[in-house]
C-alpha cells in the first residue's frame, strides 16, 4: 500500500513523514525545504495488522497546477503514480489557505484522508474547528494531528483511517469547478469559484477568536527582526553569537577533551607499532591516516554546536525573517527572492543548496543562484574557518561571522555582474513568502539535526578524507622514482612537484608555498581536506590543544610552522572559501544548470572571485600592517586587472545585447 503525503508548503509534511516513518529527513520552519519526493515505510507500531505501508513525502504545493518544479512533482505523482490513499496535511492554523489544494485533491478520485495538523497551535490561538462538520462537508475522514509530540498525536488514528479508505472511490463533494487548463481565463474563473467555496466552508466550520487585523506580539517582533535596516546588524549579531558559542566557548571546551582521546589513541597505536616497523609505513598510518583524519575530526564538537544552534534558529522561525531581510537586496540585483532558500540550505552543505535552486522558475535566476550558492560557507568549510580563527586570530568569533557576510556580499556583487553579462538587468522578480510563526525551537529536532551532521562528518572523514590524507602522505614520502625523499629534500617529493607550479601563482596572495598550495588543491575533493592536508604536510596532529606543541622547524606554534602573517592567513582562508566548491558540488551545479557554457563560466567566475578577494585581502592587509605592499604585488595586480578587464568586457557585451533587445521591442 502506498500513501502520498501532500499539502501546502510549511504545513508540516516532512515532520509528519518523520514521525510516521521514524526517518530523520531535514525539516525547516519555512516553506520550500522539500524539493524532491522521499519514501519510507510507516512504523509497524502505527499499523494494525502489520501491513507494509509506504509513505511518500511530496514537496509542498498550493495547487495541482504545475507552476513550479516542486508543484509539478506533486501533481505528476498524484496524477500518474496513483497512490492508494492521499493523506492531505492541512495546517489547522490556516484552514482557508489549505483547503484550496484539498478541494483539488478530492477531485482526483483517489481516497483522501485529511490530517488536521498543528492542532495544538490552532487551539492555542483560540481557533476552534468543527472536525465532524468539516469531514461531512469534504466527504472524507478528518483527523486532528500534532506530529511534533510522541503521545496523543493522532497519528495512529490517521494511519487507521488511511487503511480503512483504501480501495474506496473518493467522491468529489463539489461540482462545476473544472477548468480548461489551456485557457487562462477559464482557470482564473474556476479558481475564483473554488476560493468562494473554501471561504463558505471555513465560515461554517471554523470559529476564530482572534482578529486578523489586530497587531500581535509576533508582528511587533517582526517589525524589529525583519526591519529593512535593523535586520542586517541583528543578523550579524546573531551570527557572531552563534560563532562565539560554537567556536570560542562551548565548542572548544568539548573539542579539548575529544582531541585528547584522539591523541591518546595515536600514542597507543605508536606504542603498539614499536621501533621495528618501517618508518614509511608508520608515517602513513600515524601521520597520514590517524593524524590527518584526527586533525579534521578534532573539529567535530565545534561543528556539532554550530549546527545545533543553526537548527534552533531555523526552527524558531528566525531564518525565514533573514530571508525577508535579504530578499530586498536580492531582488535589486536581479536574483529571485527564492534564491535565499538555497543559500541558507547551503550553509549546511552546498549540494542540497544547489539542488534547491530547481524551485526557481526563471532559468537565468536559477543558474545564477546555483553558481553563487557555494559562496555561503558550508559545513565542510567550518573546520577551515575554525582552524584559522583559532591559530591566527585567537579564536575570534568575528572571523566566522565575517566569512558569512563576505559570502553574502560576493553573492550580491556576483549577481550584479551576471545580470549585466546576460543582459537581463531590467527583469525584476517578485517573491511572496509566508512567514512561519515564531515558536520555541524543538531541542529534539536540533539534536537530531546535529547528530545527523556529525554522522555525515565522521563518514566523510573516514572515507574521502582518510583516502586523501593517505595519498598525500605517500606522495609526500616518495619522489617520482618512488624513492623515499631524504630529510631536507622534501621539495623533490611527488606532492611538492605537483603543487609547486600552483604555488607560484599564489605568491601575490601571500601563500606561495607548495604545502599550502597542496592543501588548497586537495580542498577541491572535499573542503575538510584543507585541514587534513595541512596536518599531514606540517606533521601537526592536534590543531585544537597546542599546549604541548612539539617544536617543528624551530617554530613554537601552528602559525609559526605555516609561516603566514595574519593578512596572508585571512587571504588563504578566503581563497579556500570563495574559489570553486568541491567536485561533488560542481557536479550538482552541472546537473542544475544543464548548460556547459554556464558551468564553465561559473567555475571561472568562482576562481576569479576567490583569487581577487584573496589578493585584495593580503595586499591591503599587508599595506595596513607593514606600510608596504606584500610580495608579488605587481604580477598579482596585472593578473587581477586582466580578469576584471575580461569581466568588464563581457558586461559591456551584455549591455549592448540588452539595448539591442529593448530597441527591437520598442520598434
Amino acid at each position: 500500500m502506498k500513501v502520498a503525503l501532500a499539502g501546502n508548503p510549511n504545513s508540516g509534511k516532512t515532520t509528519l513523514f518523520n514521525a510516521i516513518t521514524g526517518r530523520v529527513e531535514h525539516v525547516g520552519n519555512w516553506a520550500g525545504v522539500t524539493v524532491e519526493k522521499k519514501e519510507g515505510n510507516i512504523k509497524k507500531s502505527l499499523v494494525e495488522g502489520n501491513a507494509d505501508i509506504i509513505a511518500v513525502d511530496l514537496p509542498g504545493a498550493y495547487s495541482l497546477s504545475p507552476f513550479t518544479s516542486e508543484e509539478s512533482i506533486t501533481s505528476e505523482f498524484v496524477k500518474k503514480e496513483n497512490p492508494d490513499v492521499i493523506i492531505n496535511i492541512v495546517d489547522a492554523t490556516n484552514l482557508s489557505r489549505s483547503l484550496f489544494f484539498t478541494t483539488q485533491l478530492l477531485e482526483l478520485g483517489i481516497p483522501v484522508v485529511i490530517a488536521l495538523n498543528k492542532s495544538d497551535l490552532s487551539k492555542k490561538k483560540g481557533i476552534t474547528i468543527n472536525v465532524a462538520a468539516l469531514s461531512e462537508k469534504l466527504q472524507c475522514p478528518v483527523i486532528e494531528t500534532v506530529s511534533t509530540v510522541t503521545r496523543k498525536n493522532g497519528l495512529q488514528d490517521l494511519i487507521s483511517a488511511a487503511v480503512s479508505v483504501k480501495g474506496k472511490k473518493q467522491k468529489a463533494p463539489f461540482e462545476g469547478l473544472e477548468a480548461d487548463l489551456t485557457d487562462k481565463k477559464s482557470v482564473e474563473a474556476a479558481d475564483k469559484k473554488r476560493f468562494e467555496l473554501v471561504k463558505a466552508i471555513v465560515a461554517e466550520v471554523e470559529d476564530r477568536k482572534t482578529s486578523s487585523n489586530r497587531q500581535t506580539r509576533q508582528d511587533a517582533v517582526d517589525r524589529v527582526l525583519a526591519h529593512k535596516w535593523l535586520g542586517i546588524p541583528i543578523f550579524a549579531l546573531v551570527m557572531w553569537a552563534v560563532f562565539s558559542i560554537s567556536q570560542t566557548y562551548v565548542g572548544p571546551f568539548f573539542a579539548d577533551t575529544f582531541v585528547g582521546w584522539i591523541d591518546t589513541f595515536n600514542g597507543w597505536v605508536e606504542g603498539l607499532l614499536g621501533d621495528r616497523v618501517s618508518p614509511v609505513l608508520k608515517a602513513i598510518l600515524l601521520d597520514g591516516i590517524i593524524g590527518g583524519v584526527g586533525a579534521v575530526v578534532g573539529f567535530l564538537p565545534l561543528i556539532m554546536v554550530l549546527f545545533f544552534l543553526l537548527a534552533l534558529l531555523e526552527d524558531c522561525g528566525y531564518m525565514a525573517r533573514v530571508a525577508v531581510v535579504m530578499d530586498r537586496f536580492f531582488k535589486k540585483v536581479g536574483l529571485s527572492g527564492k534564491s535565499i532558500i538555497p543559500m541558507i540550505i547551503g550553509t549546511g552543505c552546498a549540494i542540497p543548496g544547489i539542488m534547491a535552486t530547481r524551485t526557481i522558475k526563471n532559468e537565468r535566476q536559477r543558474r545564477t543562484t546555483a553558481m553563487l550558492t557555494p559562496f555561503m560557507p558550508c559545513g565542510a568549510k567550518v573546520p577551515v574557518i575554525a582552524l584559522f580563527a583559532g591559530v591566527f586570530f585567537n579564536d575570534s568569533a568575528w572571523v566566522g561571522t565575517l566569512m558569512y557576510f563576505v559570502g553574502i556580499a560576493l553573492i550580491i556583487i556576483g549577481a550584479l555582474i551576471v545580470v549585466r553579462i546576460t543582459g537581463e538587468k531590467n527583469k525584476r522578480s517578485y517573491f511572496i513568502m509566508e512567514l512561519p510563526e515564531y515558536k520555541f525551537p524543538s531541542i529534539k529536532r536540533a539534536l537530531v539535526e546535529m547528530f545527523s551532521r556529525a554522522k555525515a562528518f565522521i563518514v566523510k572523514a573516514g572515507t574521502i578524507i582518510l583516502l586523501c590524507n593517505a595519498a598525500v602522505q605517500i606522495m609526500q614520502t616518495f619522489n617520482w622514482k618512488f624513492q623515499v625523499v631524504a630529510e631536507g629534500a622534501e621539495n623533490t617529493s611527488i606532492l611538492a612537484t605537483i603543487a609547486s607550479p600552483f604555488a607560484i601563482l599564489l605568491i601575490p596572495l601571500g601563500f606561495g608555498v607548495w604545502q599550502l598550495a597542496a592543501a588548497s588543491l586537495t580542498g577541491f575533493i572535499a573542503k575538510e581536506n584543507v585541514v587534513g592536508t595541512l596536518a599531514v604536510v606540517y606533521s601537526i596532529t592536534n590543531f585544537i590543544d597546542t599546549e604541548e606543541f612539539a617544536l617543528i622547524n624551530g617554530a613554537t606554534d601552528v602559525a609559526g610552522v605555516m609561516g603566514l602573517t595574519s593578512a596572508a592567513a585571512l587571504a588563504y582562508l578566503m581563497f579556500n572559501l570563495f574559489t570553486p566548491p568541491c567536485f561533488a558540488a560542481i557536479g550538482a551545479m552541472n546537473a542544475e544548470m544543464e548548460d556547459k557554457k554556464w558551468l564553465w563560466g561559473a567555475i571561472a567566475f568562482q576562481l576569479f572571485t576567490g583569487y581577487t578577494v584573496a589578493f585584495v585581502t593580503y595586499q591591503a592587509g599587508t599595506l595596513i600592517t607593514t606600510g608596504a605592499f606584500g610580495s608579488g604585488f605587481l604580477p598579482g595586480l596585472i593578473a587581477v586587472t586582466a580578469m576584471i578587464g575580461c569581466v568588464a568586457y563581457l558586461m559591456k557585451k551584455g549591455e549592448q545585447k540588452a539595448t539591442a533587445k529593448s530597441a527591437l521591442k520598442s520598434a
Binding site: 504545475p66 512533482i73 607499532l273 609505513l281 549546511g348 539542488m355 554522522k455 565522521i458 593517505a470
Partner: protein, 52 residues
C-alpha cells in the same frame, strides 16, 4: 613480519573506505555521508523547460 601486518592493516582501512564510498555512490549520494544530498532518483522534476 611487523611490516607485513601494518601494510595489511593500512590496506584493510583503505579497502573499507573505498567500499563505503562505492556503496554510498550506488545509493545516489552526491556528497559522501551528507544526509540531504541524495540524487533525485526517478523524479520527474528535472525538466525545467516544462515550467518556463
Amino acid at each position: 613480519m611487523e611490516n607485513l601486518v601494518v601494510a595489511i592493516v593500512i590496506l584493510a582501512i583503505v579497502a573499507v573506505s573505498v567500499t563505503k564510498i562505492v556503496i554510498e555512490k550506488k545509493r545516489g549520494a552526491k556528497c559522501i555521508g551528507c544526509p540531504v544530498s541524495k540524487s533525485s532518483g526517478g523524479c520527474c522534476c528535472c525538466d525545467h523547460s516544462a515550467n518556463e
